[in-house]
Symmetry: C2
Subunit: 346 residues, 2 copies
Amino acid sequence: MAATTVSNKRVILKRYVTGFPSEEDMEVVTAEAPLMAVPAGSEAVVVKNLYISCDPYMRNRMTHHEVPSYVADYVPGEVLTNYGVMTVISSGHPDFKAGDLVWGITGWEEYTMIDNPESLSKINHPDLPLSYYTGVLGLPGLTAYAGFFEICKPKKGDYVFISAASGAVGQIVGQLAKITGCYVIGSAGSDEKVNLLKTKFGFDDAFNYKKELDLDAALKRYFPKGIDIYFENVGGATLDAVLPNMRLRGRIAACGMISQYNLDNPDGVHNLFYIVTKRLRMEGFLVFDYNEMYHRFEEEMAAYLKEGKIIYVEDVVVGLDAAPAALIGLFTGRNVGKQLVAVSQE
Amino acid sequence: MAATTVSNKRVILKRYVTGFPSEEDMEVVTAEAPLMAVPAGSEAVVVKNLYISCDPYMRNRMTHHEVPSYVADYVPGEVLTNYGVMTVISSGHPDFKAGDLVWGITGWEEYTMIDNPESLSKINHPDLPLSYYTGVLGLPGLTAYAGFFEICKPKKGDYVFISAASGAVGQIVGQLAKITGCYVIGSAGSDEKVNLLKTKFGFDDAFNYKKELDLDAALKRYFPKGIDIYFENVGGATLDAVLPNMRLRGRIAACGMISQYNLDNPDGVHNLFYIVTKRLRMEGFLVFDYNEMYHRFEEEMAAYLKEGKIIYVEDVVVGLDAAPAALIGLFTGRNVGKQLVAVSQE
């Protein structure tokens, strides 16, 4: 097969970010694409990117860390990378062939040569929307599943509170909690999102935290008996308000703290002594530690989706030109549901 | 037996405390003692108090709580209560007889009538110092044992950091950690205490936190590879400095936060996002939840003490007149080792 090159639109990091990121920290450029066929003897694959995922943890990667962070820093001038859904165009790897649908780490660009295709997963349920593999069937889904069942250890009847509840992870946690027989309240940052939680995701109730002057009072109103499980996505003032409202032996799954990611000095949390008096367990987790659960999760979640027991809402922008704004929008709460970018029509 | 009464010196709470407590918040008074013989038909016991324990958690009980706290508030005008070691003088209960040595909740006074003697425990190792049942063989010992083994889940070779390390609990945690094969560093608030940690309790090293301008730098110096287990007794700035220095999947046993007990507004802790990125587990516990472990603990600890594998240092003041100052001294760090009051010669 003759090697051909085509142009390749891509999103690069322009400069390291401090404080709140902006679209200008990234740049959409057009470069020469990788070879459209893998060289003889290589085990790489070339993919065409269909959907790429916008996730809050990417903010951490946009900052230069003197001491390595938990994920590698992006490099100014180089393409951003994250999870996506792709079609294999050319493969030198025995496990993949042209036309295969896969998901895994790829570039924020039209075409990517992936040198380690072992990191890619086949899409086993192509009858569901392919974009779901950036969300409910991808890492956000596994994050919700592992975090809720492995860290929160839910029991039927538990009182569950979820912050950023309409987001990529929160909406799934809430629905898994309802399936488990819990009482579930979510908070979100707009009335539209609150409405989604109540009408679409089946939360028992929900509130707009921006309209609550006193979060402690709001939590006391929604949880007069207290909270057994708090699924933490935001940190800061919300965590501080939650702590006194936890019940004895409550569990806090620390999944993310998006309210803190753009602060040079994170907010102080004052109510930690409740961890002692209420015998709370607060435990952090990263989805990367639960990869071995993926297959079981994928089958269970695909079944829930096909049976209509779990609904998933996505916020899709079209085209790489819209990707920088979509990523920034995560931090202003612009997205309604899981944010992703449709790079190419399938 | 004829009912006789004698005078009874006692320490009462004079007024509810806000902020830093003082000796003047308590008063030593002389009252009429309870009956020296229990009334016919009663199952109460009358005890003579030998040793009473001064513990930081008593501070919480000196404040009036609108919402009930995790322990009952003391009542102004009434005697303080806490764990002590006692001789039974008179008993209406079939399990106890005059002359029995017991430990349990009693009053800060010379004689106490105890209406529910089921709460008392017999002293099974009277060959060890009786005062040890306010400390290493009492609740501080069980706190150390349960907190370290049940919450910290130590492994040989773990790097262990203990704050307030020469205190009633900390000195035992450190020695249990050494027995387990851990590397152990403690912090304390005076050079005398640091010296104790290094020369008497066998810590691998120790430092005076008051001499460290930069706690983060100190921890990096003492734990270049990071901390697997933090046994938390102080809270606030120390916790904030510990979080970035924890290793992946580290455990923080939240036992107490003495630096915060006299603050109207607890300090803010800023570094909680490390709980996510380092997958930390921070778990609070109260010794009252581990009563069922007591007997196993008592036998194991008594053996360690008799074999000289665990050393215990006490700070004993003599007489109830000295009790208020001894209690206040916990919060200025005056005590060296476990603080207790010898009420009466045995």
